[in-house]
Each structure stands twice: as structure tokens, then as C-alpha cells.
């Protein structure tokens, strides 16, 4: 490494520190301040540390709304991601293995799902017809419908790397289609499945727009909506607002620490055309 690379590296790190890290430090210290201290909006060390107190207060606010939100968001995320993996892998498998005229249609739907903005009010209308509006199951199905495009693309390009000989060996052994898929193929999809799980769970957990439209109502609150609800209520209580931001940021942070490589691989693999 040349001296030049060292100096440029240090300069770049310093610049990135200011631009990308300072806002997060700001969130943290504001979340630890007292009400009056936080209201100045200053970038200063807390006069008095209240991290735990603020935490308790945010959790207790509005009859433990944040806990309910965590519960709802977790249910939606886990259920939607499970269905996405299962159904997405099945579509990707047939799409890659069975070339036919239907493939053009299926592939067209995948691309449409990636590009077209969902028609919101008509979707609400459909959800109402089905009795799924304002229900967690409705929200789960919406997330599945919107996430399928990306998931199918990822699975399809990964399945292309699995030799067909494996399928044929299983067929000779007398395996039925679903046995081939669930016993032979699905276990081999583990790397891409982890990617799908990580990327989609972050996307669904962080989603604000869809719950805003399809899941109104106090008992249906999700974590991102707690921020939105708190904004009015804590117009002057910045310490609590930022504690809430901090709490909502922690799950993605943990996922990030454990799966950094996988996320990056998944984002880029899904982005490159299959």
C-alpha cells in the first residue's frame, strides 16, 4: 500500500465519518437526553444521561403501543418472508426448468411486479371484497404479492446453476415432482434463501407506505408507523422521538452485523439481469 493510498484512505474515512456516521451519533445522543436538553436540537453531549428512562417511557407510551407494533411487524415479516421463499422458489424452479410459451407470460409478470407502481385504492377495494382490509393476513399477502418479482428473479438465476442431472437422478429413483423439489432442490437453495430472507425481511420490516394504506387502525400499528404516530404527539419531546427511531433501527442493525456479506450479494445479484 502506497503512502498516497494511506492518506486518501484516511481522508475518505474522515469525510465519511462526518457525512454518514454523525447523524447516527446524533440519534443516539438525542435519545439519551432530557426533554429540555433534547429540545435545543444541539449536537452536544447529554447534560444528564437518561437512556434507560427514555427507553422505558417510549415503551410504555400509549399503553405499550411500541410492543404491539413490534409484535405486528414481526408477525407480518415472518409470515410474508416464509411464503415468499416457498412460493418464489417454486415459481423460479418451474420458470427455469420448463421452457414453454408460459414462461414469457410468467417472466412478464415478474418484470411488471418490479416496475409497476401498485394501484392503491383499487387494491384496498379488492381487500375489502375479500374481507382482508385492516387485517394482518391481508398485509402479509400484499407483501408477498409485491415481493415476488425480486424473489423469483433471484431464485431463477440461482436454480440455473444447479445441474439438471440431480433432477433426473431423482426421477429415476421414482421421486414425484414435489419430492424432487422439496427433498432435492430446496435444500440446495440454502445460500440464495438466506439472501432472500435477509433482504426481504429488512424491506418488509422497514416498510412504511403499505401498512399506512392497507393496515390503518390503532391495533394494527407497525413499527414504522409508530414513528409517524409519535411525531405529532412528541412535537417537543425529541428525546422520546429519537429513542423510538433508535429502537426501530436496532433490528436492521443486528441483521446487518450478522449478514452484511449476504445482503450485499443479494442486492447485487437481484439487481443484475438474469
Amino acid at each position: 500500500m502506497s503512502r498516497r493510498q494511506l492518506y486518501t484512505g484516511i481522508a475518505a474515512l474522515a469525510a465519511c465519518g462526518v457525512i454518514f456516521v454523525l447523524p447516527f451519533i446524533f440519534i443516539f445522543i438525542t435519545a439519551a437526553k432530557t426533554k429540555q436538553d433534547a429540545a435545543t436540537l444541539r449536537f452536544s453531549w447529554p447534560v444528564e444521561w437518561q437512556l434507560w428512562q427514555n427507553f422505558v417511557e417510549v415503551v410504555q407510551t400509549r399503553n405499550y403501543m411500541l410492543l404491539l407494533a413490534y409484535f405486528n411487524s414481526t408477525i407480518i415479516t415472518v409470515a410474508a418472508v416464509t411464503l415468499l421463499v416457498l412460493f418464489g422458489a417454486m415459481v423460479g424452479y418451474v420458470l427455469q426448468r420448463r421452457p414453454s410459451r408460459w414462461n414469457t407470460v410468467i417472466y412478464g409478470c415478474v418484470l411488471a411486479g418490479l416496475m409497476i407502481p401498485p394501484a392503491i385504492v383499487p387494491t384496498i377495494w379488492v381487500l375489502q371484497l375479500l374481507g382482508l382490509f385492516k387485517t394482518l393476513s391481508g398485509m402479509v399477502l400484499i407483501q408477498v404479492a409485491y415481493g415476488l418479482g425480486f424473489t423469483v428473479l433471484l431464485f431463477r438465476s440461482f436454480i440455473a446453476t444447479i445441474p439438471r442431472d440431480l433432477d433426473e437422478a431423482a426421477i429415476i429413483d421414482g421421486a414425484k415432482p414435489f419430492q424432487i423439489f422439496f427433498r432435492v432442490i430446496l435444500p440446495l437453495l440454502k445460500p440464495v434463501t438466506v439472501t432472500v430472507i435477509v433482504v426481504q425481511s429488512i424491506a418488509i420490516f422497514n416498510d412504511f407506505t403499505n401498512p399506512l394504506y392497507y393496515l390503518p387502525g390503532r391495533e394494527n400499528v407497525t413499527v414504522q408507523l409508530t414513528l409517524y404516530n409519535f411525531q405529532g404527539q412528541f412535537q417537543t419531546q425529541f428525546n422520546l422521538l429519537f429513542m423510538n427511531i433508535l429502537l426501530v433501527t436496532i433490528p436492521p442493525l443486528i441483521v446487518f452485523i450478522f449478514f452484511n456479506r449476504q445482503i450485499v450479494a443479494g442486492m447485487t445479484a437481484g439487481a443484475v439481469k438474469g
Binding site: 486518501t8 484512505g9 475518505a12 474515512l13 465519511c16 465519518g17 456516521v21 447523524p23 446524533f26 440519534i27 438525542t30 435545543t40 436540537l41 444541539r42 411464503l83 412460493f87 418451474v94 420458470l95 426448468r97 420448463r98 408460459w102 410468467i106 409478470c109 411488471a112 411486479g113 409497476i116 407502481p117 401498485p118 394501484a119 392503491i120 385504492v121 383499487p122 384496498i124 377495494w125 379488492v126 375489502q128 375479500l130 404479492a145 409485491y146 415476488l148 423469483v152 415432482p177 424432487i180 412504511f208 407506505t209 394504506y213 413499527v223 414513528l227 422521538l241 427511531i245 426501530v248 433501527t249 452484511n260 445482503i263 450485499v264 442486492m267 447485487t268 439487481a271 443484475v272 439481469k273
Partner: protein
Amino acid sequence: MRTRKSPYPYWFVLPAAVIFTVLFLAPTIASFWFSLTRWDLFTTQFIGLENYRQFFREPFLIQGLVNTIIYAVLTSGTKTVLGLLLAVLLTSGLWGQGLLRTVIFFPVLVSTIGVGITFSVLMHPTRGVINVALAAIGIHGPGWLTDPALALYSIVFVDLWKGIGLATVIYIAGLASISPDYYEAARIDGATRTQMFFRVTVPLVRPATVTVVTLSLIGGLRSFDLIWAMTRGGPGFSSDVLASVIYKQYQAGFYGLSTAGNVILFLLIGLIVLPLTAWFNRKEVDL
């Protein structure tokens, strides 16, 4: 025994197809009809193109359309250029480049609403950290989100802050797939660094460019949550985009008009993204 049956049956597609058709395709197709009606979710009254006429007559709705285009072009253009430059910098063997990649990428994963709220506090006109810092070096900072001429661009900045990491990572993956032989050959031919960048890197990193442009353009055209968290489309309607207009009309109970906004967004994405993709693909064949 029916051994002739394909081992890849279409019923595998069925569950996904049902969900996708019922909750995505059907509403999309229905939106064309509903956009032509006065609609309260229970009864519809056909009014032809009246919603569209109203849309293009109201100055603030047109401003939403114009803002959408400005927002999408600015964010995707900057992400493409800056993303490539950052990716080149972060693959040049700098000290601490692994850490740098991590730091730049992290905001991609964080709650957009959280980022929006944080920056609207940092951009407070008098007490915000940004203007306090500017004042310390003698600059009188503007009202980033309160000045109608500036609000949209301030949100564009935050969008870049949040999203540049993804563009950079895609470019890093693209750069990794370029064989070092090309640079070797260029060096032997006596190419300068600038020449190598424009003659070798830029053409060969093309697939990544296509991805970054398409992704960020679609994302920019559909952008809602950041704008909503930071200004709610204000002050006035100065930072409204189509997606926030759609939400406001929905909230006000103008479901037909809201759906017409959706159709306009749909057409806008089609008009911008499809020709672009076609053009990218044609150029690819030429190579």
C-alpha cells in the same frame, strides 16, 4: 402409470400466481376503469376523462408531476455518477476501504422514516445542526425545508445520503467482473488514468450502469416515504410528488382522482423506463 407427465408441473406456480393476480394484476387493470369514475368505494359513477382533466388543470397537481420527474432524474443521475466514482475509489486499494464500504452501505438498511425525521431536525432553519455549523464558519444557512424553492432539493440530498450505498455496491460488483487484462493492455499502450476510466472502465461496467439507472429511476419516480416524513409535500405544494398527491387525494376521499394519479404514475414509469431499457439492450447487442 402416467410417466409422461412433466416433473415441473404448473401447479407449482399456482399459489404465487393467485396472490399476484388477485392483489396486484387485478387492481392494476381495474385502476384504468376506476380512474374514469367518481368513486366512494361503494358506488361508481362514470365521468370519462374528468379526473384527468382536473389533474391537468390544477397547478399543484401538475407541480407534483414535474417534481416527480425532477426528483427521479436528479437522484438517479447523481447516484449513477457518484456511485461509480465512489466504487472506483473504494476498489483502488485505499487504507480502510472495507470499513468505508460498510459505513456507506449501512443507511440503505435503515428505516427511511427514521432518516427523514432525523434530517428534518438536522435541517431546522435556526437551531438545526447543519445551519449552526454553517453559522460557525460565517455562512447564513437557508431554510432547507421551509424555503419552497429549496425543499425538494434538500430531500433529494437526503435520498442520496440514504441510497448512494446501494449504487456503490452494485458498481463494486460490476468493477470486480472486469478482467485486469484490459487495464494491463491499456497501460502498455500508454493510456493515462483518465483515459483508462473513460475508455475501459465506463464501457465495461455497463451492465451495472443499466441496473443502477433503472433501479434508481423507478425508485425515484415512486418515492413517497422520505418526502412524507420530511415535508409532507410542503411548504405549500412545493415538494409534492405524484406518490404524495395520490396519498393526499386518497385521504381526502377522492378515490377516482387518486387512482387517476396512480395511472399517470404508471404511464410515466412506462414512458421513461421502457424506452430506456430498450435503448440499453440495443446498445448491448452492438458491443
